[in-house]
């Protein structure tokens, strides 16, 4: 392990000031620490943001649910407010990794990292989330740019994620049997006037399957899904699942999710 400077920021301003192109924020550390230990990443500065109180917590209003960036997966999974407003989001959090990961990992860290097989990015897309940072608000559709790539600039800090509360929603996931990340995850959300079908795990970055979304917007029934073409081209293929299998799982899960809504 290469050595680094450790800082603990007391507020967002200080954290942002300490940041550089050669630093990482330390939220749950569930991505950053293994990367350092395995020699996959080296940093000059590690900036702990867990002591910044304003970054943590869950607030529900009639239309939206706002979750602070350093809120842990376990807190989302167990939150009465989340369970009431968007039960599928609590269930998603409950299905991330294992108890150790859920007790440390945070929603902000997950989104900032944008792993192609992470769960939360699909929730952001399906639930029309707005990402609040220390300098602006970013719509989810514009936030996730590509594999491990987001719209965040150097030193920019996610403060909270604000989800629109849908009429109905459900998340289905085929966990990688080894790591439990999503091999495929499908998040279906029915809002007034539109349906989103966010898919994670299948491609290099989370996306809204427009064809499925359109068909379901017209008729929110699992029966329409068989008529939608789901092409496996451009999908990931690895030892855990071929592109063809991923395409199949999207169809199966889209149906299951609609039926469970």
């Amino acid at each position: 392990m290469k050595t680094f400077n450790y800082h603990s920021a007391k507020d967002v301003k200080e954290a942002s000031k300490l940041a550089s192109s050669n630093s990482a924020f330390l939220a749950g550390g569930m991505t950053t620490i293994p990367s350092i230990k395995l020699g996959l990443a080296t940093y000059k500065d590690i900036i702990n943001i867990k002591n910044i109180k304003s970054l943590s917590g869950i607030k529900a209003s009639s239309k939206t649910l706002k979750i602070g960036a350093t809120t842990k997966h376990v807190e989302v999974a167990n939150s009465k407010d989340v369970k009431k407003a968007i039960p599928s989001l609590a269930a998603l959090a409950e299905g991330i990794g294992d108890p150790q990961v859920r007790n440390r990992g945070t929603i902000g860290g997950s989104i900032a990292n944008n792993d192609p097989s992470a769960d939360y990015p699909s929730a952001c897309i399906a639930l029309n989330a707005v990402i609040h940072t220390n300098s602006r608000k970013i719509e989810a559709e514009k936030f996730f740019k590509g594999m491990f790539e987001t719209a965040l600039k150097s030193g920019e800090i996610i403060e909270a994620i604000e989800f629109s509360i849908p009429e109905k929603s459900n998340y289905q996931k085929y966990p990688n049997p080894a790591s439990r990340y999503a091999v495929v995850g499908v998040y279906v959300a029915k809002h007034k006037g539109e349906v989103n079908v966010a898919v994670t795990g299948a491609k290099s970055c989370v996306y809204n399957d427009k064809d499925l979304a359109k068909a379901l917007s017209k008729n929110f029934s699992s029966s329409v899904i068989d008529n939608v073409k789901i092409s496996s081209s451009g999908m990931n293929s690895d030892i855990h699942a071929s592109a063809e299998y991923r395409a199949n799982m999207i169809r199966v899960f889209a149906k299951k999710a609609v039926e469970a809504c």
Binding site: M1, K2, T3, L38, Y174, N176, P177, A178, S179, Y181, I239, H240, A241, S242, Y245, N248, M249, V252
Partner: protein
Amino acid sequence: MASLVGSRVERKEDKKLLTGRGRYTADVNFVHQTFAYFVRSPHARAQIKKVDTSKALKSPGVVSILTGADIVNDKIGGLIAGWRIKSEDGSDMKVPPHPPLASDTVNYVGDHVAVVIAETLDEARNAAELVKVDYKILKAVVSTKDAMSSDQIYKDIPKNMCFDWLLGDRAKVKEAFDKADKIIKIDLVNNRLIPNAMEPRAANADYNPSTEEITLYTTSQNPHLARIIISAFNGVAPENKLRVIAPDVGGGFGSKIYPYAEEVVCSWAAKKIERPVKWVADRTESFLSDCHGRDHVTHAELAVKNDGTFLGFKNETIANLGAYASVFGTVTPTYLFGPCATGVYKMPAAYSNVKAVYTNTAPVDAYRGAGRPEATYTIETLVEKAARELGMDPAEIRMKNFPTQFPFQQTLVHSVDSGDYVGGLNKAMEIADYKGFEKRKRESASKGKLRGIGLCSYFEACGIAPSPVVMMLGCGIGLWESAEVRFNPTGNVTVFTGSHSHGQGHDTTFAQIAADQLGVPIENIEIAHGDTDKGPFGYGTYGSRSLTVGGTAIVKACDKIIAKGKRVAAKMLEASVDDIEFSNGEFVVAKSNKKKTIGEVAFACYLPGTYGEVKSPLPEGDEPGLKETSFFDPVNFSFPAGSHICEVEVDPDTGETKLVKYTAVDDFGTIINPLVVEGQVHGGLAQGIGQALYENCHYDESGQLITASYMDYTMPRADNFPEFNLGFTCTPATSNPLGTKGCGEAGAIAAPPAVMNAVMNAIGTEISMPATAEKVWKACNKNKKRNSEAA
């Protein structure tokens, strides 16, 4: 005192292990200690043109860097293949050199090239990055199936073949096949596994320059074997100057039976630099360099009559040894595999032919079950297929071919002393509600699920011993076991065993045996193991041998204690030795109330003479003290057997397979502690089910290990299993006085075929292990297509 044998005594060792008070090799630290980090080959096969350590030597904290050239200079011997196998044509097996640090070629990703020793681990690791190795990359041989027709890895080993071994009679098999009504054929792959002991391997070697003694702490299932190999073969230090201690060890499953390059290098380096050298594997190193398991490609055939009677069996297998022949690497796919491949059946004619090949992958050695899971998978999937092709019930075809007379002379090697295979299968069918399966299948179908049932009846040969037999078959060591039972003067007892406990619960089970034999309360008995300076030489723990061989040695040593105790008690009680009876810890003069407890007798042995009240004369010819040693070599292997029944539910839309019911009925002979035995069965089942549904070691074409972490190598987890239904039958072994047979490997042996037979029954198609969701989904799709085309 009630007998402890057979009772569910809670494990004595658990308090320590579960509260973090265990002491593992990584917990051992010495003053002035250094840290080793190994430079490993990133290539599967390459020539080493040059190793340049000049820059690394200048890195902060570096104490020393040793390479293959130093190994050659110091004449450090190579790692050994412990079992000599001969080919069918009589020629000896071909073994490549295996130096602890490579000097001219590297042969798998993770192979050892150099060791960097520094003041801290970080400094060692950082310096290791600066060691420049100039490789000429060569084409790697990876595939088991194609190894014989691929590039030749070693100059003197044509076709990359170590041996071409035959057991059995080809002519008799041909005769049997000519008479058959039907021949059932199967092609199988026994998937390669990575052992994944919870505790990674580690070593910490301390050298004392004034006494020239090395003390090596290491993660070993077998410290005595490590000591003799590192002394006699690697030549690091004479045996009397090498003490090997295997303290608490967190699982081995076979992968820690023998010493690896790292222990040899740490011991040698400690002596060279005259400072302690510590190495602890990180998880990636475990994946890359622990010996792997299984990896067979098999074609097998069964000749049957139309009524289901078996006439003959052939088994043609290619076994992957990896890059080098490891200590038990050559016996695992031969004598541990071939004989058991005819299964638990009367089989008039049979042969097993095994071609062992080298590839540019990590060495393959014994892994829980070692050879017997591969054998059982072969015969039990073949028998299930025979039942399907003959339109018979899979239970019926098994019953028809079970032997009912014991001892049973098994076709290829073994004389099985006892068993009741019919009773075992009947009991399993009863517990599993075999008759109710069709109803459960309909219920599953109504939910859109495919339900399948699979059977496996197995026998295995374990309790690995008789030294004369195993040595005749090529084993380079004996396989007896030792015990020393020592009464301390105050009447409590320390038992030294040559076995080693790394999860098996010896501290409890062995204490139960000694408590019963000696009539001493179990809390007054301590089991000591794992230190070559404490007890006599022993052969360690693997092959489900510890209880039947090591446990019996304890019984024998206790017998000697009691024999001496009788002489001493007779003298103390002024009676004739022939009149002394021993039971419940008391020596009693027959038909009287005159007696001495075993504690009093022990005390007398340590204080022989008269001193005030103490009057303890020793019998003439007897020496003071009360300590006896026994070396036990049984007359035969032991033969656990049983029947397992598995039920699965498959979701045809996703291919996901759920294990819904698992029944295991095993015959382990006498059971000393049901709690421990059930735990062993559970663990074995978890590993067997893991092989069938989840685990798979995957190298890509260039020999890079793709499944090198838990992100990609699927370990089974608790939520993958249903509640296991366990049952037992008991026909005691006749080859040891306890009547025990061994239980450590049974689950891993029986589960893979039981699970796979259930999956194949559910989907109606043959598929290979592991039955991952995608594979099962593809098979379901093929069936759908076939059905719709037929319709």
